[in-house]
Symmetry: D2
Subunit: 392 residues, 4 copies
């Protein structure tokens, strides 16, 4: 039941770590969209294991194949199916664990829920499941960019105790991809890489933060009271493996403010003709007010816990409930955060595109979504720094 995401642009995910493959069906994909297949593969490459020394040594090309929904390079509007077949699945590494519950993994809970589990590589609980999200999200990102001029950019804003001074900088995809940790500030990137490598040397793991900026979002997206835009983004993010928290705009630091400094004053803004020329002079709201986008950039941050797999002996219990020691083996990431970046991009794009289509349904009655929005930004605030609570 929990395998799908979205209302109009819907995805259905399937597959296990050590089964034949991981796939996704997009239902409700707009028709007539010419797809850039290289870009889809490129997003999967950003997610794939073995891409750098920071990631697991499992080597998978993660090459995507298309099973339906495309004709002559365009979407047909019918269910679009993509699959990545598994090629480097080594179940043997997991055999020793099949009767043990690995701490802070999903072994115990899957078995508690279903009464059965595919223990090979985590089965359905494996982070390989996110291939489905990234592939579908790559399609969504193309549609957002080409038809709505909306871009989604996430980056690593913290690894363990190394954190960017600015939570919400303004970075290009190229800056983000300029190093293997996906932190667009080179100096901090170096420290983050060193932190990860040090954890790896210790057989340990670390977590961190991903910040996300969605630019050029039209005002009017989100469906209160329950499908508020930030609510759907929060669900999108917390559904990503290892994610432990989500905050929008000022987030957990909102409590540090008083209303008089937290409110975002409205100001006249220079925008293309036909758009209401109103912006805000700060963005503590993170681009969403009352559950609906206000035309400012959407800014949110998520946190990922340290990878549960470590190379220390750990106390646990076995399926009979008896105490046991887990001796770690296999191939794992000392830190999932750099590989989480394309997943955050994907889930954000899937959420925004779905809400755009929901809003488009009413275009004859309600203010439309201009396809030619290119906001000028004189009104945009100086960067907001959540960590120091200082305007720069």
């Amino acid at each position: 039941m929990g395998d799908h995401w979205g209302t109009l642009f819907r995805i259905e995910s399937f597959g296990e770590s050590h089964g034949p493959g991981i796939g996704v069906v997009i239902s409700g994909c707009p028709a007539n969209v010419p797809l850039d297949f290289d870009l889809i593969q490129q997003e999967l490459n950003r997610r794939r294991p073995g891409q750098s020394r920071l990631t697991t040594k499992r080597q998978e090309a993660d090459k995507v194949e298309y099973l339906s929904g495309i004709y002559s390079g365009k979407t047909t509007g019918s269910a679009l199916t993509m699959i990545v077949y598994n090629t480097d699945a080594k179940s043997r590494s997991y055999e020793d664990f099949q009767d043990l519950y690995r701490p802070s993994h999903a072994d115990f809970t899957y078995e508690a829920k279903y009464g059965i589990r595919d223990w090979r590589g985590g089965g359905r609980a494996s982070a390989r499941e996110t291939i489905a999200r990234v592939a579908a999200g790559a399609v969504a990102q193309q549609i957002l960019r080409e038809f709505y001029q909306i871009t989604v950019n996430s980056w690593v804003s913290g690894i363990h105790s190394v954190r960017l001074p600015l939570t919400y900088g303004r970075y290009s995809r190229e800056q983000i991809e300029s190093n293997e940790v996906r932190c667009p500030e080179p100096k901090f990137a170096g420290q983050m890489i060193e932190t990860i490598l040090e954890a790896q040397r210790q057989g340990d793991s670390v977590g961190g933060y991903v910040s996300c900026r969605i630019s050029n979002v039209p005002a009017g997206l989100g469906d209160p009271p329950f499908d508020k835009l930030e609510a759907d983004l929060a669900k999108a993010m917390l559904s990503i493996p290892a994610c432990r928290g989500f905050e929008i705009g000022s987030g957990f630091q909102a409590a540090d403010y008083k209303g008089s400094t937290h409110n975002d004053p409205f100001v006249p803004a220079i925008r293309p003709a036909g758009e209401k020329q109103i912006g805000t002079n700060s963005n503590h709201s993170g681009g969403i007010q009352g559950g609906i986008s206000n035309g400012e950039d959407i800014l949110f941050r998520v946190v990922f816990k340290p990878t549960a797999t470590i190379f220390h002996d750990q106390k646990t219990v076995d399926r009979s409930g008896a105490e046991a020691i887990l001796k770690a083996k296999g191939r794992h990431d000392p830190c999932v955060v750099p590989r989480a970046v394309p997943i955050v991009d994907a889930m954000a794009a899937l959420t925004i595109l779905d809400h755009i289509l929901r809003q488009e349904a009413y275009h004859r009655f309600q203010p439309g979504i201009s396809s030619e929005r290119t906001f000028s930004e004189p009104f945009r605030l100086k960067e907001y720094d959540h960590d120091t609570k200082q305007k720069q």
Copy 2:
């Protein structure tokens, strides 16, 4: 479209601040449940305005009436409808604002979305909408407690800079209700109350934190990969007005740990016969692993921003896009956090009950949900303090 919540235990909310009333339809409510109507009213009383000097002076009894779904004091299984008629709606206070966009309110975004808005008291965007959640949540809480022995308890864990030392204490509903700020630690409660009254004197507002503990949750709730239990809780919370962030278990502090200290070791646990006797020796996971409850208490925290309405003059623009000054009037809370507590309780209960029914659907195939779970707690960790990163 965004007016409903839930899959099996579904609620549909309706109503505006200054319309005839606020109501809710519960569809998929279990039949044959004897309702304690006083308890439902009591939850609404915890939410209602005018309950203490900390809240808005709008005085509403918020008396709930029943329009359908009940026969002889029991639920019939058919749509159960509750309504609270509005009685103290004073639209006049808002007339001066009808052409202004109040900063960090939803005036601008509703108009950007719908091209029309009911400006009286915030209309649909008013926090009076949460009456629907609290009424339905009160039904859910009764069912959880009576049929599944599950309790939900939220409390104020921070107001502005006053914060509890322990994020996740263990408090009874009586302790929480022992003061008007709903902070179960009397010493901190006093400081919080003073903080709110001081903000009120300044014509300003403050935000804060609500912590929540859901006790006695059976293992097995949650539907990965997208309807993970923490994902649905995150959406539930971010859909509450003024909520800006959500974290589960160690949350945003997860990045401070390494895997070796963050993992929750499994330990044998003493539970009633028939249950798998396994627990964890710490609870950084917040009771959820891989998106599925593991039988430990669910622990999460949310943040609320300072109320957007303040009694200072504020810069803004009017509907024509021209600069303007907003002079505040009306009746508002200097801090919504104490009144948010029953709303957090409600949304948590709605989410948990829905996932229980989803799991119950498979009871013939998968491990069942015992109705007689009363966990002993020898294995439970000492309280975990997120703020100091110390085990107490």
Copy 3:
């Protein structure tokens, strides 16, 4: 769970025959639509009991009141709630039946499902539930007519053995409303009325047929493979109390044809510029091919069984399973078919509008829905008569 209908234009229905009232929440209603409240009441008047000598003597004005979603006479886009309070509910008539299962009523099945039932007047199973459909359908019909020039017209095409020679004539709402049985052919109307009155005199009941023509439907509505337009129409109709069958176009007579005579040849058609100028030269398809509307009128027919309540003694069993005799009392229709006409109109309108919004969501990618469609009809076939299998 089964209380809602629709995906974007969604309705949630609530209420019982002898409870406070029957209501409906429309979620996803387009904003900015000026409503003609008289027309909504008028549709309810077409459904209300006591409107003629052919119907139950229960007298209810069925006056609709508005609880939310309207501001200054226009829809706001927020949940729109309507309610009809019950005023002439006489539970006493039902007291004698409360331990008996009335044959072919829902008493037994509701109790088998829920373990409890509100026996007063059928409770939730009462046809008074259809007030919700008719009220919401009246809103949908207004939107279809004003924004899309689409009209829905149903009429009685048969009562017991009296049947119209043409299944799918072309009738105006005025012709249909010209008599109390809602048959637009006066000669047959007279015979139908006599048939109903004769059944009434015998203490018996009769059923019949309703035909429906939806005119000016744009091509492109319907979502194969599962949400085909005829599939959703079929569900819409079979959800109406007492409905026992649905057929589209040639329907059950399709088997009488061979492919060579059943196929609808495409022909060039004169339509407004911008539309693909293609029609069909017959309409056995009933306006839907492959689950998607083709621009021709949609034609379908439904059948209603004789009312289950009759004024004869009937054998049955009581709640203990013992044999018993049911002696009929109360106020009922000898034939529900004339009052079913506005319900068929309503459900058809709700279904079509929902599919329009679903298609509008993709307007930027796929062929749009012109708001100025006024098909000329040179290509339209002569009326098709399903009963005689003759072209007229």
Copy 4:
């Protein structure tokens, strides 16, 4: 958007006639179910082309492969994916048609909706799509039979003018499969076969009827007012390609009765202990009253139109709107009805199982579904014959 079916036992279908394959994802499949893979293949064999002289000469083994959701021969509760790769797809036959709209096919409507179509073999509109339904339905049938003792049996009850005297006989799967037309009455089967072969010789096509009996259904399934069991069955059936009508129980003949003869009297019934011992003495209701199953067999009938592809020249128009002649080519069935039987079985099973799980969700509150129901049938009516309106 229209690619999925079901609420708890959900299927998502994908694939085109001449793409890589046709597949289905089952989400919400109960865990721990040992699957008989031969039976799944056997259902696909009943559907596959080339199985007899009555069907298209397209030869496909339609061998099903499993992509996810199974471990050690059992379902895991995670998304279960099946695919049939296309092997005998000959696009060339369709090249001549790519600019023509084939009468009563979906070419025109798909293009009107999506602005693009995959013309090869009907693309997504091809009846090969039903592979997804049959594969998923085979899983549902196993679960129904093994866990709930429910069987679904459909058969051909009419081909063109050859019709069985009894609409709802009682036949075993073996009787139904005893001949290539799937009519369990040998004498009529012979006439039906001859009718189809004659149509084939004429280059023409014929349609017909499928009757369905679902046995041993527990009382209590169905969710009024909108998800009535017959409403969901009607949608299920009308979503099958070429289906033009659905009727439950007495169906379109209900109008021939009066209430006094149409009502189904309740009678005491001998059933296993623990069940309410009540049945009905006739079954005009078709096993469903008020939208909820009453414990009697569910009886419904559907009609299929003659295949649209014929081997006659046909008038049509091309994509420019100009008149044209379609000269038929390719490989097609002169009659789809025998191959529709396993599809009707599949859709019926998917619908019933979904409603069972919906009801099971409330098992702690409402009367349960016994897993050991084996109704004795002394109370069952003699066969009911809709065609002659006679009790036999």
